[in-house]
Symmetry: C2
């Protein structure tokens, strides 16, 4: 199954065969997380939650329903989302007196409660997060993980005394996401979205745009400065140090668990299936015995010993001593699931008291003494993550192309590249580009300052460098 030839088909096949998702649920845009996939996202969620809680975000859980009146309070917000929410209109046979919608994001659920919790400057900053599912009635074509009507994410919401403190929080949010994504070996651009594409109700939005083999950008996380837009709509005030009532400043950020999982599958996987960074692999090491007639007992005992020692070292190990598959089939099976290290044990290994280690990313083999097996596995773990990270980062670098004019830009997008281009900042020029080329302007680098190459490729005005791509 060739990943590069037909990414879309490869992706669907890997999701199904590696038991990541099952997309045969009969409601469009809703999908089932299976055991292997769910364990991966759960571990990613824990990594993120730990970071968020270390930095003062309290874990909470808000209701999935938002009443119509609260949802309508912030004008830009409702304008942006109203065409894509699911409405609950009935309970049993009864029409509900007040329509409820399934949260597409939780600002309008959360602020009415923040209002109770924030009285004075001493209650600020207030930071919370929740891992939950959100709902968007997508009218575009849905794709498992990339574009769904139900998706799993973590959202954080914070309130602060000043605009600057909120801005500092945006930077902290961005850093937290960056750290987690790096531990997953992912590569992406951190972009400040152009004004016309920011979060509905935000002052500005930062996004993590991960590369995807099909050239369509995969937005895996966003961080938003909301200024006092929502505070004013929800009358979120506090008593400042001089005793006056002042509006709070708020931020929010969202980490798309499904999109991140998609990026892990898409950036790291190969023709054999998943390749998982060891930290998030449900099984990190699989032991496969190579049976030899007359040698069964010795092999069994030695495998049990290897299993015990690796387990005691805190590794997630599975001994695949089943009889349904031959060893070669087991190799293929666990390669599909992306298990980082395979331990092969046969007659030679038993006699030498050694193990043969095969790393999933390169399929390189090495035979080492059992005494140093743990240290060697740990070393392979670091090398695998480092090598996944390097490879992903190289693909991103190589996929970026500069465009001097519209023709160049168009060609770049056709080649599935991410294209750097000069743009004046006017929505009219962006629209013209979009119509001509079928891709979109994603935004400016947030973490790096860049000088324009020339002038806006549409109107010739003073420009800034932006990145354009096709998108989900």
């Amino acid at each position: 199954m060739e990943k590069d030839r037909n990414f879309s088909e490869w992706f669907d096949k890997v999701l199904l065969e590696a038991e990541v998702l099952d997309d045969r649920y009969t409601v469009k845009g809703f999908t089932v997380y299976r055991g292997w996939g769910y364990r991966i996202v759960r571990t990613v969620a824990h990594m993120l939650e730990e970071k968020l809680e270390e930095t003062g975000h309290e874990p909470m859980l808000f209701p999935v329903v938002i009443p119509e009146d609260a949802f309508g309070k912030e004008a830009e917000h409702i304008k942006g989302f109203e065409s894509e929410v699911f409405w609950i209109t009935k309970g049993g046979d009864t029409e509900l007196p007040r329509k409820l919608l399934l949260r597409p994001t939780s600002e309008t659920a959360i602020y009415p409660l923040f209002k109770y919790w924030i009285r004075s400057h001493a209650d600020l900053p207030l930071r919370m997060h929740q891992t939950c599912t959100v709902y968007r009635y997508e009218t575009k074509a849905t794709r498992p993980l990339f574009r769904a009507r139900e998706f799993l994410w973590n959202e954080a919401h914070t309130a602060h005394a000043t605009f600057e403190e909120a801005e500092q929080q945006v930077r902290e949010g961005e850093e937290i996401y960056d750290q987690v994504f790096k531990r997953l070996g992912l590569s992406y651009l951190i972009l400040k979205r152009p004004d016309f594409d920011k979060f509905h109700g935000a002052i500005y939005s930062i996004a993590f745009d991960a590369w995807n083999p099909d050239g369509k950008i995969n937005q895996i996380g966003t961080v938003h400065h909301l200024g006092d837009n929502f505070s004013k709509a929800f009358e979120l005030t506090y008593e400042d140090e001089s005793g006056n009532q002042a509006f709070a400043y708020t931020t929010c950020y969202g980490f798309g668990m499904g999109r991140v999982l998609a990026a892990i599958v898409a950036q790291h996987g190969d023709d054999h299936g998943l390749i998982l960074p060891p930290e998030i692999a449900p099984t990190q090491v699989v032991i496969v015995p190579i049976p030899l007639s007359g040698f069964e007992e010795k092999l069994r005992d030695y495998c049990a010993e290897v299993l015990k020692v690796l387990k005691e070292a805190g590794l997630r190990v599975f001994l695949d001593d089943g009889e349904k598959m031959r060893p070669g089939e087991k190799f293929y099976h666990w390669e599909m699931f992306g298990v980082p290290v395979r331990v092969e044990v046969g007659r030679i290994e038993v006699e030498e008291r050694s193990v043969t280690l095969v790393r999933r990313d390169t399929l390189e083999r090495s035979r080492v003494s059992f005494d140093v097996a743990i240290a060697h596995v740990q070393k392979l773990f670091s090398e695998i993550l480092e090598s996944l990270r390097r490879r992903s980062s190289r693909v991103l670098e190589e996929s970026i192309k500069e465009a001097k004019d519209l023709e160049d830009l168009k060609k770049g997008l056709e080649e599935r590249r991410i294209v750097r281009v000069d743009w004046c900042g006017e929505e009219a020029c962006a629209l013209e580009m979009k119509e001509e080329i079928g891709g979109e302007i994603r935004g400016y680098r947030y973490d790096v300052e860049e000088k324009p190459m020339g002038r806006c490729i549409i109107c010739g005005g003073t420009a800034t460098i932006v990145y354009a791509s096709r998108t989900y």
Copy 2:
């Protein structure tokens, strides 16, 4: 605030002040888990998930929506639930072509996928679980945690080759729940529900009925044998060893996270607030310095040392060195939150290199040398759990009363007791009891065989002992 005088008021106040929940969300029956409460249920969920996964249940996540047609397949099931589901009828401005409902439980979401995953006897048993929220449009009065329209639970679903294997699974489910509940120090009766009160679509239902201070039973978990009822409705068949198609047998069980949290609050709490079993306390030990003028630096250093040592021992410790509250206020504050052990450190402790330990359940104090502090805290943890468990179990025993006739039964329920009574098993007699007394028959002991005391108190027929109570 007296728990015994007005349980309901006490309960609401503790939930709010200990930051367990905030019930001011403006949609009836929907409530907000705050940081302290959410951390507790999250830990309880992990305890359960670990047990379930050790025994072969794969973690998964199914969609929250179920299409109308799938929901209607099992006749008893839909009859039981249809009056209490929320209906999604619109996406944006569009009427949905096929109505969706919010899952009240997930059998009808899960079986269509089980059908893909189960082909032959080798695919059985199949076991999965998910921690998620479910939705019921309750028309009765709602109460936070006890009776909500959105509630957090864990549901497990399993499929087996034979009725007996499914029955064995019911026992395993029951044991898993029992073990987790015991680790939480809870007391309850394990009852087999009378036929008219079983899960809609089940062969029989087992329930964990926890005592509550107001005499209303709190059902914290249920385990159901579904026979082949759902398999037939969903055509869930497998190829058996002789090559024939046979229907699978299924079970399901639900662990109510909110109800369990309610039981922890209600059974263990006292007039000072929560009392938490140490294993699930978000903070297990709080250190409160007792300042003395001129002694600040020594105190600070010693507190930092105590904090470090306790943390390194793996305890969840918080040093409350804030200046907003005096030490006495801090004591009250952390008692409300139910932190199991308070460490007081003042001049004497610094000079002696000792710590004063106060256990939350009895408020007993002891001063011990710093060298043995960890061992002593661990000992207090065991003692606290053991004493909570004993106390809860005694309350349950003392609340059970025997009734020889209807008058007796009525009196028992008025006294908020759980009443043992002889009943013939006929629904007519149960209905007559319910009308006369306002409580209900909860069922027969599942884990203990009991002989009837006499004959049915209504019709005088041959009887079995059942338990009756008021209920949420």
